[in-house]
Amino acid sequence: MSLRASSNAVDCLVIGAGHNGLVCAAVLARAGRSVLVLEAGQTIGGASVTREFAPGFRVSAGAHLLHSMPATLRHELRLEQHGLIAAATRMPTTALLEHAPPLAVEAWACGVESEARAAFDARMRRVARALAPIIERRPPRIGSGGMRDVLEWLRSALRLRLLGRRDLRELLRVGGMNVYDLLEEQFESVALQGALALDAVLGSNFGPRSPGTVFTLLYRMAGQELALAEGTELPRGGMGAVCAALAAAATAAGAAVRTGAPVARIVIDADRASGVELADGERIAARTVISSADPKTTLLRLVGPRHLDAGFVRRVDRLRGRGLAAKLHLALDRAPAFTGLEPGRLGSRLLIAPSMAYVERAFDHSKYGEFAPEPVMEITVPSAVDPTLAPQGRHVLSAVVQYAPYELKGGWSDGRAGAIERLLGMLERHAPGLRDSVVGAELLAPPDIEREFRIDGGHWHHAELAFDQFHLLRPVPGASGHRLDIPGLYLCGAGCHPGGGVIGLAGRNAARCLLEHGE
């Protein structure tokens, strides 16, 4: 019997209760569709989740900072009413240096370079602002010939044209550059260069010298342009709170969310998505299926090559999606004491990226399957501003560790202890005594991230975010714009434009696309 024929079919079945899946569900439910979200894990959140990692200590196990969720989306879904509260906003950034006091990276605090910094920021922000709508909107589809797609092209081109001649010329000049050369040209301070370069490579498979890293930097800045004026935030209760608020918004609008429901297969009947089959064999009928799982999982495993064209499958198979960022979680029995750090700045983003050369060197090791002897880190101590995460007087340290190869030489089961040791050694250099205060430690390497969050390859963006996997080409040519060639099937996760980060645009745009097509 065809699934579609059954009368209890939901309108929209969303696979995955990460933030994009939940945004998509909320938007669809608010538009009057019956929506069911199926999440494989026991909890919602995907890579935007808060969980315990040591008795009494909780941490944002994936993403740990909220910086790019568009203000419009937060208002549309009334996330504040649904319980999203910031523990800290406008988080500053501090560069930790070994032989110098920490450097506040804000423009006004950059000493002799504050003027250069301000000018650089202003120009980059103007360009980022012009890019922001391109990031915010659904990309057109190449070769569709449809009027909507042609208009979208023109609109994007016009927006860039409106930049003005000087900024446009600057965009064309720097757009394809690497961030190393750009920052080298702009600043003297290696510490400032290192800190700014990190933003260009965080979560990616790039070093500062890799081509296209000015683009990734602009991209991140463009996302931030769309966000609230509050800047980078730590949500109270960790990143899981974002998804809790999204789930509340979705269920308030009538959507249902089921956890512990791993989808084994998307059912295709007569070349149309007609529902899903769960791992235990249960079948659920749906008029449309929207997947927030990464593109390889969705297309190669849940749909399967049998239902797809060979050229398309090859492109998906070749999609670069090996993660290179790890996550370190430490439970501390007292506040870490970073040398020279003003007590007020413990709640800032603390970077260990003292120079671009340092970052590049750490990256070099990863190319050969090695964990860098001197790793790069983006550290937060969320318990400094959010008492809900650790017992009274104790603290949680959460760090993105850049350049942890998916395929570590010798394997992660043998290499993990050594890697943690190296990270603790590095932290100890900046915060003497920290090692003694550690009461629990966890390192999530890319394979762990893959397993825990069910992201093939364990990549931050589900698939590398680079020129050749961006916008029209994301996740692959022929699948941009959420709607797949199989009728009734949509993608809504980070593998879609505009990529990863807790942004929610992929989820929202997928929902809008579906509604526009009258499904």
């Binding site: 070349d271 190669l300 399967g304 064209d309 060979a310 050229g311 499958v313 090859r314 198979d317």
Partner: protein, 401 residues
């Protein structure tokens, strides 16, 4: 498919020689060889006419070894083939073969070839050009083993009215009972797999053997074939026969999708008039959605047969809707004077609606008469492109000429 060895360093090799090369070289009177898929093969042994008449009136032996051959096995072999090919592979019984097509995502023909089902589990795909890259792409997600076996299998086509009797004389017991598109195992002193198939549209067989046996088989066939008019032929003569049979050739009648550089050059099976080999009801296959959309939209052009006036082959002629030659509606892809049909025939890609059978067209034929060019606007009519298809091609037991 994951652990494929590095491809051989083919660029270090000049043109390869087939296992029949020594004999072919000895028989060649005009020294006309041509490269085919990395092998050197004979274009003409003596004269095209002589070889052509061997195909149509006696028996012709053609070296097929450069055909790219792939062994396909593994648990998902049938599913893999059903997704690769436009027709149903699961319907192919062991011991049979089928003409088949495969398309890219846009529904454009990558190549055509024959699929052999050697036994329950093993298939062999033969194609005019190398296909490993596309097969490897198509294998992603399937538990299938694909091996290129081109060099491991020597092959000969034996075609023509006396082909069956040549094989009988060579000791292939019961060969006359082999049906079209059936294959069997035989012996002529050396073991052979024989399929009743070919590229001439006539009674004919294809013989597949180990390279070590190649010269033995060749000599044996020539020995018993002498009294039956057997003659080795090159690709030129074969080309005349295949045009008469209405068969298409890559890079002549269509550009394989993987070779086409310009947009709009690749062609779909519907445009090539091969829709009977496309099964839309068998489930998904690569290109199905594009082909469905094309079918919905209606055809833009079609490869058709042409009956051309006069006796000058319409090589490369542009086609017009009226004699004045203002409205160009297509072009000839293959043309020949057919000695057997006594007709001036051609294959041509013609725009809709001029491609419907019976349409009257004009072919702009250029003739080089001792370095003076003449232009002849010649009337042509769209006809069924199978110009030659004798009854003996289908009859089993095969007639003994």
């Amino acid at each position: 498919m994951s652990d494929r060895p590095d491809p051989p360093a083919h660029y270090r090799e000049p043109l390869l020689q087939t296992p029949f090369h020594a004999r072919a070289r000895a028989l060649s009177q005009v020294d006309q060889f041509t490269p085919w898929s990395g092998y050197t093969t004979v274009d003409v042994f003596t004269t095209v006419e002589q070889e052509y008449f061997a195909i149509r009136n006696a028996a012709a032996l053609y070296d097929l070894t450069p055909m790219s051959k792939y062994r396909i096995g593994g648990p998902d072999a049938v599913d893999f083939l059903d997704r690769l090919l436009t027709r149903r592979a699961s319907g192919l019984a062991p011991g049979r073969l089928a003409y088949c097509l495969w398309c890219d995502d846009d529904g454009h023909l990558v190549d055509d070839g024959t699929l052999f089902r050697l036994d329950e589990t093993e298939y062999r795909l033969c194609a005019a050009s190398r296909q490993l890259d596309w097969l490897a792409a198509s294998a992603i997600g399937f538990d299938v083993q694909i091996d290129e076996v081109t060099a491991q299998i020597a092959a000969l086509a034996l075609q023509g009215p006396t082909s069956c009797s040549v094989l009988k004389a060579a000791g292939l017991v019961g060969i006359e009972h082999l049906k079209p598109f059936q294959l069997g195992r035989y012996d002529c002193g050396w073991p052979l797999i024989v399929s009743r198939s070919g590229f001439t549209g006539d009674l004919g067989y294809e013989l597949w053997m180990e390279p070590d046996h190649a010269l033995g088989v060749w000599d044996r066939l020539h020995e018993v074939g002498r009294s039956r008019g057997l003659r080795a032929i090159g690709s030129k003569a074969l080309n005349v026969a295949r045009i008469e049979a209405g068969f298409i050739a890559p890079n002549i009648d269509f550009i394989p999708a993987s070779h086409a550089l310009r947009a709009n050059r690749a062609r779909s099976p519907l445009e090539l008039g091969l829709e009977r080999f496309v099964d839309f009801d068998k489930g998904h296959f690569t290109g199905r959605r594009a082909l469905l959309a094309e079918r919905e939209r209606g055809p833009r052009r079609r490869l058709v047969g042409l009956d051309v006036g006069g006796n000058k082959p319409a090589h490369d002629a542009l086609l017009y809707a009226e004699r004045a030659g203002r409205r160009e509606v297509g072009a000839v892809t293959s043309a020949v004077w057919s000695p057997t049909c006594k007709r001036n025939i051609a294959l041509a890609m013609v725009n809709w609606p001029h491609c419907t059978e019976g349409s009257a067209l004009w072919a702009d034929i250029y003739l080089n008469r001792e370095l003076v060019w003449e232009r002849r606007m010649t009337a042509a009519r769209v006809v069924d492109r199978v110009f030659f298809s004798p009854e003996r091609r289908r009859r089993t037991p095969a007639v003994d000429a």
